[in-house]
Symmetry: C2
Amino acid sequence: MTTQPTTYSIGELAREFDITTRSIRFYEDQGLLAPQRQGQTRLYTNKDRVRLKLILRGKRLGFSLAETKNLFDLYDMENSSERQLRTVLALIDDKKLSLKQQLEDIKVLLVELNNLEERCRDELAEIEASQAANQSLPNQESL
Amino acid sequence: MTTQPTTYSIGELAREFDITTRSIRFYEDQGLLAPQRQGQTRLYTNKDRVRLKLILRGKRLGFSLAETKNLFDLYDMENSSERQLRTVLALIDDKKLSLKQQLEDIKVLLVELNNLEERCRDELAEIEASQAANQSLPNQESL
DNA sequence: GGTTACCTTTACGTTAACGTAAACTTGGTT
DNA sequence: AACCAAGTTTACGTTAACGTAAAGGTAACC
C-alpha cells in the first residue's frame, strides 16, 4: 500500500490541476487557502489539496471565489450560536434551490444539444448520400 | 384565449427578467440579440424574448456570453458544409461532456449540503434542548 | 562557482460584463 | 407650451480573476 505524499509544493498542485501558481496564490490571497510555510515556501497538505479541488469544482459550477469561500466558512463553522445556525440553514436552502435550478437547466440543455446533434447527423448523412450518388453516376459536369 | 403581445419594449423585458436595459443593449452589442427597430427604438419579438431567456439560463450555468453566442451560432447554422458539420458535432460533444461533469458536481454538492444541513439541525436541536432544560431548572446564576 | 529550476513578493496590466453619467430625442399628458 | 417617462448613443468607471514582468532567495547539479 503506497502512502500518498503528505505534502505538495505549489508547482506540483499547479501541474496536477492544470492551473498556474499565480491562481493558487491568488486563492490564498482571497482567504480560500492557508497553507503552512516552510520558511518562505508554501507547503500544501492533503486537506489543502482537497480544498483546491473544491475551489475548481465551484468554478466549474459558475461560483465566484467569494461564494465558494462562503461555503467553506459555513463548513468550517464550529462555534455556532442559534442565530448563526439559522442563517446558515437559510443560506444552505438558497444554495440548494439554485443548484436544483441548475440541474433543471442542464437537463434541458442536454436534451436540446441531443436534438441539435441529431439534426447535424441527419444533414451529414444527406451529404454523404449525395456524394455516394455522385460516385455511382460519374463525370457529370464535375470540374 | 388571450394572445400574448407580439412585441416588447426594452423596458418590459428588463422588468420581466429583472435585469437592466443596459445589459440587454450590451447583449445586442456582443451579437447575442438583433431586435428590429421602429425608428430608433428597439422592438423585441417573442423570438428575441426566448433568446434573452436562453442567455440568462446560460449565465446561471456559468457560461460566458461568448460561449452562449457560440451555441446560438451552432443552432442558427443552416448552410453547413461537411467540415462545418463535423466541427459542430465535436463542439456539441465537448459541451455535453462538460455539462455531464456539471451534473455530477451538482449532485455531489447537493449531498454535501444535505449533510451540512443535518449537522446544523442537530446542533440546533441540542441548543434548544439545553434551553428547555434551563427553563425547567430556573434561576441558576442567570443574570 | 555558475547555471538551472523553483520558490518568493510586489505591482501594474488585462478582459468580461456590466454600472453610471451626460446629453439628446420622442410620444403622450396636463 | 411645458413636462415627464422611456427610449437613444457615447464614453468613462468598476469589479473579479487572474496574467505578466521585475527583482530577488534557495537548493541541487555540473
